[in-house]
C-alpha cells in the first residue's frame, strides 16, 4: 500500500494532532519530555494507520529533535525511497539530521542534501532554510579531524563558504522583507520562518568565527602576542553573533553549547577572569535542563576544566562522557580520549 499524505482514520489524525501540540510546547519550553510524549502519539498513529505519511515523517523529525539523529536519518531516507510525498521537505530534514552527526562525513552528506534542495526547490521559505542549514554545515566542517594536525586551507575554505552563505541568506531575507512591503511583490517568507532562519545564520556565523579563531595565528601567519589578541577579538565577535541567536530563540541547547564553547575560548585567549566559570555554568544548564545528560556538553565542560587547570575534575568529566554511547554523544571517542590524555598529562594549551 502506498503512503498517503493524509489519513482517513480520524483517531490517527487526532493522535498526530496531539503530537503536533506537544512539538509546539517543546518549541516554546525546550522541555525534551514534550518530545517523548509526541513520540508515543506518533507511534500510536502509525499503528492505527500504517500508511499515514505524516505520522512517520513527524516521528523522524521528533527523533532528530530528541537527539536520536541516526534513527531520524534512517527513517527519513526510508521515506524518501518509499514515497515522493513532500520530497523536498523530507530531504531538507534529512540534511538537518545528517548535520547533527557533526562528523566530517555526516556534514558532507548534509551539505549534499541541502545543495540538492537548493537545486530543485523554488519555494522561498524552504530555500532559505536549506541555505541557512548549509551555512551551519560549512561552519561545523571547520573543526579539524585532529586538533594538532589542522588542514588550514580547508578551515579557510569552509569559513569563506559559511560566511558567504550567511551573507546570501541575509540578502534574501531583506529581499523577502521588501517584497512583503510591496503589493504583488511576489512570494515572501512568513515571520516565524524568517526568525528561525535568522537564528540559524547567526549561530552559523558565530560558529564560523569561533572555529576560525582557533587557528587564526597559523592561518594568517601572526604568531606573536598580537595574534592571540586578534583571536580574542574574533571570539568576541563570535559571541556577539551567538547572543543575537539566543535573543531570537532562547534556551536552544545547540546554541547554548556554542555559547559555552565561545566563552571558554574567550577565557583562554583574553585571560578574562570568570569566563571559565561562566562557560561551565552555561554548559551545566544544558546538561541539567536543556538536553539532560548531553554527552558533548559533558565533554566540553571537561575541556573548560582542563584549561582552567582543574585536571582532576576534567578527567572525571571526560570519563563520564566516554560512558555515553558514541552515537548519542555528538563527539567521537577519539576526541574525548585525546582530551583525557591531555588532562592526564596536565596539558593546559588550546586548541
Amino acid at each position: 500500500m502506498p503512503l498517503e499524505l493524509e489519513t482517513h482514520n480520524r483517531e490517527a489524525f487526532e493522535l498526530v494532532t496531539q503530537a503536533l501540540e506537544f512539538m509546539d510546547q517543546y518549541r516554546d519550553s525546550r522541555d525534551v519530555a514534550r518530545l517523548s510524549e509526541a513520540t508515543v502519539r506518533l507511534n500510536a498513529a502509525s499503528q492505527k494507520d500504517p500508511n499515514y505519511f505524516r505520522a512517520r515523517y513527524y516521528d523522524a523529525i521528533v527523533d532528530d529533535l530528541s537527539g536520536r539523529r541516526e534513527s531520524a536519518v534512517t527513517k527519513l531516507t526510508e521515506l524518501l525511497g518509499q514515497s515522493p510525498l513532500l520530497a523536498d521537505e523530507v530531504r531538507y530534514n534529512l540534511g538537518l539530521a545528517e548535520y547533527h552527526g557533526y562528523s566530517h562525513s555526516a556534514l558532507e552528506r548534509a551539505i549534499q542534501q541541502f545543495t540538492r534542495v537548493l537545486e530543485t526547490v523554488t519555494d522561498a521559505s524552504l530555500r532559505l532554510r536549506a541555505r541557512a542549514g548549509l551555512a551551519q554545515a560549512y561552519a561545523m566542517h571547520m573543526i579539524p579531524k585532529e586538533y594538532d594536525k589542522p588542514d588550514l586551507d580547508q578551515i579557510k575554505k569552509y569559513r569563506d563558504l559559511a560566511l558567504g552563505a550567511v551573507s546570501r541568506v541575509f540578502h534574501e531575507l531583506h529581499v523577502s522583507q521588501l517584497r512583503r512591503l510591496v503589493p504583488f511583490g511576489g512570494s515572501s517568507v512568513d515571520s516565524s520562518t524568517a526568525a528561525e532562519v535568522r537564528w540559524t545564520v547567526h549561530n552559523a556565523k558565530g560558529m564560523a568565527l569561533m572555529y576560525y579563531s582557533d587557528y587564526l595565528p597559523q592561518i594568517e601567519n601572526d604568531m606573536a602576542d598580537r595574534g592571540r589578541e586578534r583571536q580574542g577579538v574574533t571570539v568576541k565577535l563570535a559571541l556577539s553573533e551567538l547572543e543575537k541567536a539566543e535573543r531570537i530563540k532562547g534556551s536552544d541547547w545547540a546554541n547554548r553549547c556554542d555559547l559555552g564553547s565561545a566563552t571558554m575560548r574567550l577565557g583562554y585567549f583574553s585571560r578574562e577572569a570568570g569566563c571559565y566559570s561562566q562557560a561551565i555554568s552555561i554548559l551545566q544548564e544544558v546538561i541539567d535542563r536543556l538536553r539532560p545528560g548531553y554527552g558533548f556538553a559533558i565533554y566540553e565542560t571537561g575541556r573548560v576544566l582542563r584549561l582552567k587547570g582543574d585536571y582532576g575534575k576534567a578527567i572525571e568529566r571526560f570519563k563520564a562522557a566516554l560512558d555515553i554511547p558514541e552515537t548519542q554523544r555528538d563527539v567521537s571517542d577519539r576526541r574525548v580520549t585525546a582530551e583525557l590524555k591531555r588532562a592526564e598529562s596536565k596539558d593546559g594549551t588550546f586548541p
Binding site: E6, H8, R10, F13, E14, V16, T17, L20, E21, M23, D24, R27, R54, Y57, Y58, I61, L65, L86, E89, Y92, N93, D123, S125, L126, R129, D190, S192, T193, E196
Partner: protein, 394 residues
C-alpha cells in the same frame, strides 16, 4: 452677415436661442426666433430651454405656443424653474386674453357680432379671471343687442372646459333673466351638468385613478431605483466578495428548523469543532514545514454595524439582509440536513466549490452508532475539503 448664416451646423438651435437671450441680444427677427423655438420643442429639452422657447413664442405673439412651452417647463422643471414658469404662464395667459379681447372688440365694432361672440367664448374658456369677466359682460351685451343665447353659449363653453361652477352660475343667471326658451335650455343645461358632475366616472373612476397614480408612482420609482442602482451595485459587490473570499469555507446549518433539538441537528457545531482542530493540525510550523492550510471559515453572521443600524431604524432591515447576502460569497461551502426517527439518523451533506457540487454524502446511522460516528463523518467531510483545496493549490 446675418446671425442665421453664422450658425454652425450641429449646434442645437435652442441652446443658441437661450445663449442669445442670456447675453441680452435682440433676435434678428421674430420669425427667426420662432423658427429657433419650433426646433426646440422636443421632449428632451430642459426646463430652462422650455422657458426660453416660451419666451420666444411670447415675443412673437404666439401665446398659445408660449403657454404650451411654459406648461412643459412646469412639468419637468426644478422648483426654481417651476416658479419662473408659473409667473411666465400667468403673464402669457393675461397677454393672450388681452389680445383676444382686443380682437373681439374690433369684430364687434365692425358689426361682426357672431365672430366677436366666438372670440369672447374663447376668452371665457381659457382667459384669466379679469378677462373672463370682461368677456362675460360683452356676451351679455351682445345678447341684449340681439345676439340671443350668448350667455347660454358661454355656459356651454365653460361646461366644455370643465369649469362647472362658472357654467352653473351662468345657467342660473339665464334662468333668472332669460326668456322662457332660454330658461328651459338653461334648466336642461343645469340638469346635464348635475348628471356629469355626479356621473360614475367623476365619482368613482376619477378618484380611483388618482389614488392608483399616487400609489403607482412610488412603486415605479423604487423599481427604477432597483434597476439603475441596486442591481449593478449588487453585482459589483458580489464579484468583489467572491474574489475576496475565494479561499474561504462556509459551513451551513444542518438543523431543519430554528431551535431544532433532534439528534443530528447540531452536526454543524461538530463540523465547526473539527474545523478548529484541523486548523490547529495544519497550522504552518517551522519545525515540520508547510502542511498546507485548511480554508479559513467565513462566518455567516451579518455585519455588526449594519445590525446596529437595523436595530436603530427598522427600515434598514431589508437593506441589511440584502447586504449580508451579497457579501457572503465563500469559495467553498459545506451544507446539508439531518433527519432523525426513533431509531435512526439520516445525514445528507455536500461540499461545493462556487456552487458546483464536488462531493456528496448520504449516510444512515442508528442512534446508538451516531454518537461515535458523528466526528468521523465531520472529519471525512473536512479532509475531503482539505484534499480538494490542496489539489487546487498544487
Amino acid at each position: 452677415m446675418s446671425l442665421a448664416f453664422e450658425m454652425k451646423e450641429g449646434v442645437p438651435r435652442r441652446l443658441l436661442l437661450s445663449a442669445l437671450m442670456i447675453a441680452g441680444m435682440q433676435l434678428p427677427t421674430n420669425s427667426f426666433a420662432v423658427e429657433l423655438a419650433a426646433s426646440g420643442t422636443d421632449a428632451s429639452a430642459s426646463s430652462a430651454d422650455q422657458l426660453s422657447i416660451g419666451h420666444a413664442y411670447e415675443q412673437a405673439g404666439r401665446f398659445a405656443d408660449a403657454e404650451a412651452a411654459y406648461r412643459r417647463a412646469l412639468e419637468i422643471g426644478s422648483p426654481k424653474a417651476r416658479v419662473d414658469a408659473i409667473t411666465a404662464l400667468s403673464n402669457v395667459v393675461q397677454l393672450r386674453s388681452a389680445s383676444l379681447l382686443s380682437l373681439a372688440r374690433s369684430l364687434e365694432d365692425r358689426g361682426r357680432s357672431g365672430d366677436a361672440e366666438s372670440v369672447y367664448l374663447e376668452v371665457l374658456k381659457d382667459g384669466d379671471a379679469e378677462a373672463r369677466s370682461v368677456a362675460l359682460n360683452a356676451l351679455a351685451r351682445l345678447s341684449d343687442t340681439g345676439a340671443t343665447s350668448a350667455e347660454l353659449k358661454a355656459a356651454k363653453a365653460l361646461e366644455g372646459a370643465k369649469r362647472w361652477d362658472e357654467a352653473e352660475a351662468l345657467y342660473q343667471q339665464v334662468i333668472q333673466s332669460g326668456s322662457m326658451a332660454q330658461k328651459e335650455a338653461a334648466l336642461a343645461g343645469i340638469k346635464e351638468l348635475a348628471k356629469i358632475r355626479h356621473s360614475f366616472v367623476e365619482e368613482e373612476i376619477g378618484p380611483a385613478w388618482d389614488t392608483f397614480l399616487k400609489a403607482l408612482f412610488p412603486t415605479l420609482l423604487v423599481a427604477g431605483l432597483i434597476l439603475v442602482v441596486v442591481v449593478p451595485v449588487g453585482l459589483g459587490l458580489k464579484r468583489f466578495y467572491r474574489r475576496r473570499y475565494r479561499a474561504r469555507l462556509n459551513i451551513g446549518d444542518f438543523s431543519r428548523t430554528e431551535g431544532d433539538q433532534s439528534p443530528g441537528a447540531a452536526f454543524r457545531e461538530t463540523l465547526l469543532l473539527m474545523h478548529d482542530r484541523m486548523s490547529t493540525h495544519f497550522r504552518e510550523r517551522t519545525i515540520v514545514g508547510d502542511a498546507g492550510k485548511m480554508p479559513a471559515l467565513l462566518d455567516s453572521s451579518r455585519s455588526d454595524v449594519l445590525d446596529l443600524l437595523a436595530d436603530v431604524n427598522e427600515s434598514l432591515v431589508p437593506f441589511s439582509k440584502w447586504f449580508s447576502k451579497v457579501t457572503q460569497q465563500p469559495g467553498y461551502r459545506v451544507s446539508g440536513w439531518t433527519e432523525a426517527t426513533w431509531g435512526n439518523i439520516k445525514v445528507c451533506a455536500k461540499f461545493e466549490h462556487y456552487g458546483k457540487t464536488v462531493r456528496q454524502w448520504t449516510r444512515i446511522y442508528s442512534l446508538y452508532e451516531w454518537f461515535g460516528s458523528e466526528q468521523d463523518l465531520a472529519y471525512e467531510v473536512l479532509i475531503s475539503v482539505k484534499e480538494y483545496t490542496d489539489a487546487l493549490g498544487a
